[in-house]
Symmetry: C3
Subunit: 221 residues, 3 copies
């Protein structure tokens, strides 16, 4: 049973932080926040999931505060968005793509970190999912929006759960490596983007009874 | 000085998780979220208060992550709401009833858990209140609604505080048992529902000065 | 290298809690919450930043729960707002002034607490900023508003960062004392209020391209 090397894990983690940070900075731009708000929303999106994970793992000061290198991705992201190196659009397409990339990397690195910390397979998988979706939820909640996580168009938590579960299975089988972890992340990313492209949906929280006309009942506020 | 047996405490805690989870799934149905969003919002409502409590108690990994049995109530709740076994209504009545049941159980179990962990009476009572109201606040905030906690119609935190305080007094007197704890929970539940039924109110945050005409001043956004 | 005496630090911390608590109670009044909601929103505003700081420092039960004296400022604040001892206005001026006072004190006490706990200069400065802005963000998010932190009119995080950084430098130089810490807090307070008075701004998250007509593009939702 082997895991990812710590250095590699940190590198992947920082890359995931960067992708989520860009999604936060793009949301800041859409909402008309200033550059400082952009750095802060990018930091929350990029570092929030990992801070929650580290608080739950209860192993001292979270990495995001203990290691100043974690500041670099949000600052870089805010700069790239400010100067339009990353395209700032009216529609959400690039925001959702960066969000998907962060989701894909974090379900792998979050699950790995939890397994390295000695968590069992089921808790580690769940904490991996929480790490992956947490930053995006914090980003949207703090910007006073309904989280993407709850958008019924496309699937969000399902690819994260599949990615976290596969990471756990690979780790248990001794097959978790840089290429296999990267393959899982790529698959999660593709699944998320395809679900957005083709509008895949899962059933609603409550089945619409047959005798309700369309446009009525729960789900219409 | 005796407390509730750990097995009983876990059973009551899981029941409270279930009630809050149903409230989360009902909110997901009202908002048109899908079944995955329902499981997640139910999990946040059911497990959020306990996770915050366990983070503050600082005793290792929170129960909700360490013990996979805590996943059962949210999954069950999402299923019951999806198939309309729990009635999904346009109005909030059933949501508020399940929320009240969770509040009632959690102010007893949250306070007990804090006392078992060695907290003093005042901190344990406050942490019991925070556990009881925390899941509902997280549920509403993440769904981008003003928390029920702040709805001036009916009382919410007051019954939770009375329940948590009574639990602490019973524990100090050596009278905390399954029947006495259940009686406290039933009283809190009844008080919350009666306050909603009869529209009981406490004074507003700021007294309305006499010279303000109705419908003006703070409180009208 | 000396820090502030623990007793002084607690006194300043409680004063900061009081200022933020008043801002929370004023927001509760604006939104028409009741007196219990006022106490709770005041507590969240006043104690939230410190609880997050203590969770991240991972040193046992947060002060706000361990020491019941931390309940006094929110109760006092709710009383002062209820009886209009603190002026409750339609506009946000007094809310923003109390918020600024809390921000000013917390960037000094938060940074000091983190340094006392043995954190390095950069992490301690960042945690000081997080402590200073955290309570206000929680207050606004729970009341379902876009946080003041993201209001592009005036600067908010910048004075907090300058205050936290200066506190760290003073501590490293052995010059941190009651007068020097108080001077830093007064400077932060003045900078925040001046920025509101004169509408100082920093650049937006995304530069507005030249070929966009005014009132279009990101930032207009």
């Amino acid at each position: 049973m082997t895991g990812l090397l710590p250095g590699i894990l940190t590198g992947l983690d920082l890359t995931g932080v960067f992708f989520f940070a860009v999604s936060g900075c793009l949301l800041a731009a859409r909402r008309g926040f200033d550059i400082v708000g952009s750095v802060l929303l990018g930091s929350l999106a990029g570092l929030g999931g990992g801070i929650v994970r580290d608080l739950i793992l209860d192993q001292g000061i979270p990495n995001a505060f203990a290691e100043p290198v974690y500041l670099v991705p949000p600052l870089l992201a805010a700069g790239l968005v400010h100067f339009h190196v990353v395209r700032v659009e009216r529609h959400r397409r690039s925001l959702l793509a960066f969000d998907a990339a962060g989701l894909a990397l974090f379900c792998v690195t979050g699950t790995s970190t939890a397994l390295e910390a000695g968590m069992g397979p089921v808790p580690a998988t769940l904490l991996g999912v929480a790490t992956a979706v947490g930053g995006g939820v914090l980003r949207d909640v703090v910007a006073n929006e309904v989280p993407q996580l709850f958008n019924p168009r496309g699937v969000y938590a399902v690819p994260a759960l599949l990615g976290a579960g596969t990471t756990t299975l690979l780790r248990e089988a001794g097959w978790l490596s840089i290429p296999s972890g990267a393959a899982v992340a790529v698959a999660v990313f593709a699944l998320r983007l395809l679900s957005l492209r083709f509008g895949w949906r899962v059933p609603l929280a409550a089945r619409r009874p047959r005798d309700w006309p369309p446009g009525t009942g729960p789900g219409r506020r």
